[in-house]
């Protein structure tokens, strides 16, 4: 069976400098995937390519087995896209805008009404459906941008910076909405906020200069990671030789990052550190997380 999204050797070269180079990855439903990278890394261009807005110079994009270049209308019918910023017409009411977008997706009559109702409900916009788009708050505008992408019940949702420019409360609401949407469909989320990817996504793609430098789970396989502070630090090799320790890294002269092997018990590590008389003064969780991965690969 074809993956929900399959990207092969995708490149976009509108001028002398390529904006996206040789991108290959697949995406399945069941947990959002984060797309991160520095400004200018090619995140927005990648999403616009995947949405069928831009035409790749080389490579292919298949959505549920449909080639976006050969069967664009059928493939686009499977994709929902929220651009950044969501360019919304200020002169329409929320319900009118959604009806317009649903019409562009080929929905008519009762199907159009049902789709608009469901999108309003899913995005919490029911109370403002008669309000002019120009009078919506930033958070509501972002929600409306997502609502229009949901109208035709797409298999794949592409969201470009959905929480950019929002206050913490609005951003939290949007994240809750994205988490709910990502459970039932494929979702690719471009963002600058690493904690958003850590909190929402199961997989992450890291772009640098238009190239994909990492594609994998947000939390790599392996055991827990701890920060270890010692008054009388031993050589690093001695620490690595402790039972259950998979790898170590010296942070300062008396401070280490220690990754345990999968399933290893942290209590055994504490016992060993005390038993060796190294003067244990700190043992705290220290998952290097996405930030370290991003700084190592994406920056």
């Amino acid at each position: 069976m074809s993956p929900l999204l399959e990207v092969r050797s995708l490149s976009f070269r509108p001028g002398p400098r390529p904006l996206v180079q040789d991108l290959s990855f697949t995406l399945e439903a069941g947990g959002p995937t984060g797309l991160i990278g520095l400004n200018g890394a090619g995140k927005t261009t990648t999403l616009r390519l995947l949405a069928g807005v831009l035409r790749p110079t080389t490579g292919s994009i298949r959505v549920a087995g449909l080639d976006l270049a050969r069967a664009p209308l059928e493939a686009k019918a499977r994709i929902g896209f929220q651009p950044d910023p969501p360019a919304l017409p200020d002169d329409l009411r929320v319900s009118e805008y959604l009806a317009h977008c649903a019409g562009l997706r080929g929905l008519r009559g009762r199907a159009l009404g049902d789709a608009c109702r469901q999108a309003l409900e899913a995005c919490g916009l029911g109370a403002v459906r008669r309000r002019l788009v120009g009078r919506l708050s930033q958070g509501m505008r972002r929600r409306l941008g997502i609502a229009q992408a949901l109208l035709h019940a797409p298999d794949l949702l592409l969201l470009d910076e959905p929480s950019a420019g929002l206050d913490p409360a609005q951003a939290a609401e949007i994240r809750a909405l994205i988490a709910a949407l990502g459970r039932s469909r494929g979702l690719l989320l471009s963002t600058h906020l690493l904690h958003e990817v850590e909190g929402l996504c199961t997989r992450v793609l890291i772009l640098r200069d238009g190239r994909l430098v990492h594609a994998g789970p947000v939390r790599p396989a392996g055991g827990e990671v701890f920060k270890v502070g010692l008054r009388r630090p031993p050589p690093e090799q001695a620490l690595r030789a402790l039972p259950g320790v998979q790898e170590t890294e010296r942070l300062h002269t008396d401070c280490f990052r220690v990754r345990l092997a999968p399933g290893a018990d942290p209590a055994r590590l504490a016992e060993a550190l005390v038993g060796h008389g190294w003067g244990l003064r700190e043992l705290s969780p220290a998952d290097p997380g996405l930030e370290r991965l991003f700084l190592d690969l994406g920056a």
């Binding site: 509108p14 949405a51 831009l54 910023p85 360019a87 017409p89 019409g103 562009l104 229009q148």
Partner: protein
């Protein structure tokens, strides 16, 4: 889906104060010229040299064509350029629509409100029905010609709008081309030389027969062919949208 875009364009233009301002301006100017023509015929002791219908068609409909040239570039400048500038075109490009469907919806949606300008002169003529006998066939021919002018200038405006992401630049380009098309065969000091390409390209040369009550296939074909050509060029621009970021 063309109908959805058509409705959106019609609404966008009808909700624009600029549109109503231009329409009101056209109506005022045409009404003033209309009254001048009627006054000349109504003055006692000054027998008119030509039928009233001819005066109305040449003066009022003639001016209405020039006003269409002024209004169309302003009202169509943002139709594509504005959407490209705001990136709202991404919504259309990501929808299951062909460039042809987008073009049809936008063109027809702009043409309908613009072509309402064609109704101003004929409405003014209708005001005279209780007092004057007019040649309605002649007026229908002039109205058809004016509609052709709107068909042409709307297509020109749409094409210009598809050449840039800056609406004012699109309007300036459309004005420039429309004025050039008005003056192509204008040679001061020389008798007009008919039959050459420049004459054929000059839009008012094809509008004049309609104002004289003559509906000729070559003149109709001129408006339709040129508008079709401009729309084909605009289609090509829309189809290539995805090649630039």
């Amino acid at each position: 889906m063309t109908a959805v875009l058509f409705r959106r364009e019609v609404r966008r233009i009808l909700l624009s104060p600029l549109y109503w301002g231009l329409l009101a301006g056209q109506a005022l100017i045409l009404a003033w010229v209309f009254l001048r023509v009627v006054e000349a015929y109504a003055t006692p002791g000054a027998p008119p040299s030509a039928p009233l219908t001819q005066g109305l068609c040449l003066e009022v409909f003639g001016l209405a064509g020039a006003l269409a040239l002024l209004a169309a570039p302003v009202l169509t400048m943002g139709i594509v350029a504005g959407e490209w500038r705001d990136r709202s075109y991404d919504l259309l490009a990501a929808a299951p629509l062909t460039p042809g469907q987008i073009l049809r919806g936008k063109y027809l949606g702009a043409l309908l409100p613009l072509a309402m300008g064609s109704l101003i002169p004929v409405t003014l003529c209708l005001l005279l029905t209780p007092w004057a006998r007019l040649d309605w066939g002649w007026i229908a021919a002039a109205t058809l010609g004016l509609l052709g002018v709107h068909v042409l200038f709307t297509a020109l405006g749409l094409w210009s709008s598809s050449l840039t992401r800056r609406p004012p630049l699109a309007a300036a380009l459309a004005y420039g081309l429309a004025l050039l098309s008005s003056l192509l065969n204008h040679r001061p000091g020389l008798a007009p030389f008919h039959g050459d390409l420049l004459d054929w390209l000059t839009w008012n040369e094809h509008y004049l027969p309609f104002l004289q009550g003559r509906v000729q296939t070559p003149d109709l074909a001129y408006f339709l062919i040129l508008a079709g050509l401009l729309l084909a060029l605009a289609w090509r621009r829309l189809a290539r949208y995805g090649e630039r970021p």
